[in-house]
């Protein structure tokens, strides 16, 4: 689809073309370079912490009391992972089944409507989900066990946030599986579900896995909805009804007033967060590349 670069340049499209190209290059280098500015800005702010406290004390300190010089983040790290994993437990199966529904079970209109609804759900602000969680879900959970703001509430709200991502990506991948696979399986006497389960889903698996990985990364990084419903107590939860504080929630709660090393420690946790998300992202990429070999 693009202009054959070298030839047109040799051709001398004129000064206007060269000027425009220079301008576009400047803009493009700026846009694609911003990510370096972001990561380095955050990492530079984390340097005082690394110099004065060091990474090991993130694990070895006896708790998170930053104003008293105690910087153990294990509990929050576990909190982040558990909340995100909890969301995935619900959202991944529901998302994949939603995609299967869209691809094989939905009628013309019902499928279109469901897809639109998922797109709307994907665009609902996290603060709206947090508000609803706080006014509706938390009181319900509190009826079972106090205080209501809990790991369960956070995971449930996050489920709604990442479900559309999983469903829409999985649907796209399933739709890309050649029709012949499904027809072939049906032709062999498979039932609809058997054909999907045995033939279509395995064929789409790497793409679906990528979608799931991206959804997990999103859940790990999500902040405001979690801050609103998770209770934000720094502890390793022993039941789903206990409050937790995630790494990202911690940043949001404390950056506003943190000073000196405490402030730097929050930038350190932001760096950890961004690195974690990037690693997950890279894994997703790698899985997607496997997809290309199938």
């Amino acid at each position: 689809m693009s202009w054959p670069q070298a030839a047109e340049r040799r051709a001398g499209q004129g000064a206007a073309d060269r000027w425009l190209a220079a301008l576009l290059w400047a803009a493009a280098l700026f846009s694609s370079g911003i990510v370096f500015v972001i990561v380095s800005t955050v990492a530079v702010e984390a340097i005082p912490f690394l110099r004065e406290i060091g990474l090991t004390r993130l694990v070895s300190d006896e708790g998170w009391y930053p104003t008293y010089g105690r910087f153990q983040m294990t509990a929050m790290l576990i909190g982040s992972l558990v909340v995100a994993a909890g969301a995935c437990v619900l959202a991944l199966p529901a998302g994949v089944v939603s995609a299967v529904y869209l691809a094989f079970y939905a009628g013309r209109w019902s499928g279109r409507i469901y897809q639109r609804l998922l797109e709307i759900l994907a665009g609902i602000p996290s603060v709206v989900l947090g508000f609803w969680g706080l006014t509706t879900v938390v009181p319900l959970i509190a009826k079972v066990e106090q205080p209501g703001t809990s790991l369960l509430a956070a995971s449930f709200v996050l489920t709604l946030m990442i479900l559309p991502t999983v469903a829409l990506i999985a649907f796209a991948r399933i739709a890309a599986v050649p029709d012949a696979y499904y027809r072939g399986a049906i032709g062999l006497g498979f039932s609809r579900w058997q054909a999907i389960r045995q033939v279509v889903l395995p064929a789409a698996r790497p793409g679906i896995a990528t979608g799931c990985i991206l959804a997990f990364a999103r859940a790990l990084g999500e902040t405001m909805a979690v801050v609103m419903v998770a209770g934000n107590i720094v502890q390793v939860p022993t039941s789903v009804f206990q409050p937790v504080r995630t790494l990202s929630a911690n940043i949001a709660l404390e950056v506003g007033y943190a000073m000196d090393v405490h402030r730097s420690s929050l930038f350190a946790s932001a760096t950890i967060l961004v690195l974690a998300v990037l690693v997950i992202f890279a894994v997703g990429r790698w899985v997607a590349r496997e997809d290309a070999h199938v």
Binding site: P4, A7, E8, A11, G12, Q13, G14
Partner: protein
């Protein structure tokens, strides 16, 4: 054959040396002297002189050693089986070959006395001077009017009355004016295939080109639309220098004044035979040509 060809080429070049002082291609595009009128007077002069043209796509030969003159006001039909480099040749005549990825061109393509592959050639002026029509009609998906207005505005014509006059003139020239005069502001894609193709021809005509290149202009059209376009090309004789690529021998015979037969034996397309249409079809010198025009090989 080669000797006589070179001799005639020399004569033309001697003659064209005098033309060097005339405006080059860049100026010619905007000069009114190159409108429809004078073309007829110069009937018989070569517009293009192609010398030893070699084209490769990513190292694969597409055309090798093409020498050819294209005469003013004539309709030159390029025939030959697919893959023989007909379209490639056409694209070299206004350097749309630059848009083909991996395409390398050697040799000289002289438009009047200007080698269009020489550095510094004003491509914009060249392409305004030499219009091109493609196999598949390609109107811009906007209104009929905007399709015709855009190239005019791009070439610096701002006067509303002049734009309107040229649009009517060109639509009339392709016989489309009466069919679309009431729906000029409607989408061009709402037209039938044949109408779209005529719109594309009109669009090329708005710039008052000296020459028109047509790459199988009827192959996507039904027989009736094809007939209309063929008739149109017939009317272009003497007004425009037209080069038509076609795989349809009957069409070449109906519309052509000159014919060039291309053939590719695997080392790039070559010209097997060329000359006036009657000679190539009725008294071919080459056996291959005879077999091809008789439909015995393809």
């Amino acid at each position: 054959m080669a000797d006589s060809h070179l001799a005639s080429a020399d004569r033309h070049e001697l003659h064209l040396d005098a033309l060097d002082r005339h405006p080059d291609v860049a100026d010619a595009a905007t000069s009114p002297a190159n409108g429809n009128g004078p073309a007829a007077q110069r009937q018989g002069e070569p517009v293009w002189q192609v010398r030893d043209l070699n084209v490769t796509y990513a190292g694969m030969a597409a055309l090798s050693g093409i020498d050819m003159d294209i005469h003013d006001g004539g309709v030159t039909a390029i025939i030959g089986p697919s893959g023989c480099g007909k379209s490639t040749f056409l694209f070299c005549l206004n350097r749309l070959s630059d848009l083909i990825p991996g395409c390398r061109v050697d040799g000289r393509v002289m438009l009047h006395s200007h080698d269009i592959f020489s550095p510094g050639t004003d491509l914009t002026a060249l392409r305004r001077h030499v219009g091109i029509i493609f196999q598949k009609p390609n109107p811009f998906p906007t209104t009929i009017w905007r399709n015709l207005e855009m190239p005019l505005k791009q070439s610096g014509i701002r006067d509303k009355a002049e734009i309107a006059a040229r649009i009517e003139e060109c639509l009339t020239a392709v016989g489309l004016w009466n069919e679309v005069r009431d729906r000029l502001r409607r989408p061009a894609l709402g037209l039938s295939g044949g109408q779209q193709q005529r719109l594309c021809i009109a669009r090329a005509l708005t710039l008052r080109p000296e020459a028109l290149l047509m790459d199988e202009p009827c192959s996507a059209l039904d027989p009736i639309a094809t007939g209309v376009i063929e008739e149109l090309i017939g009317e272009f004789r003497g007004k425009y220098t037209t080069v038509v690529v076609t795989h349809n021998l009957g069409q070449a015979r109906r519309i052509g004044t000159d014919v060039a037969f291309f053939w590719n034996e695997g080392r790039g397309g070559r010209i097997i035979e060329r000359g006036p249409v009657e000679k190539v079809f009725d008294a071919p010198e080459d056996d291959l040509t005879r077999l091809y025009v008789e439909g015995r090989i393809a």
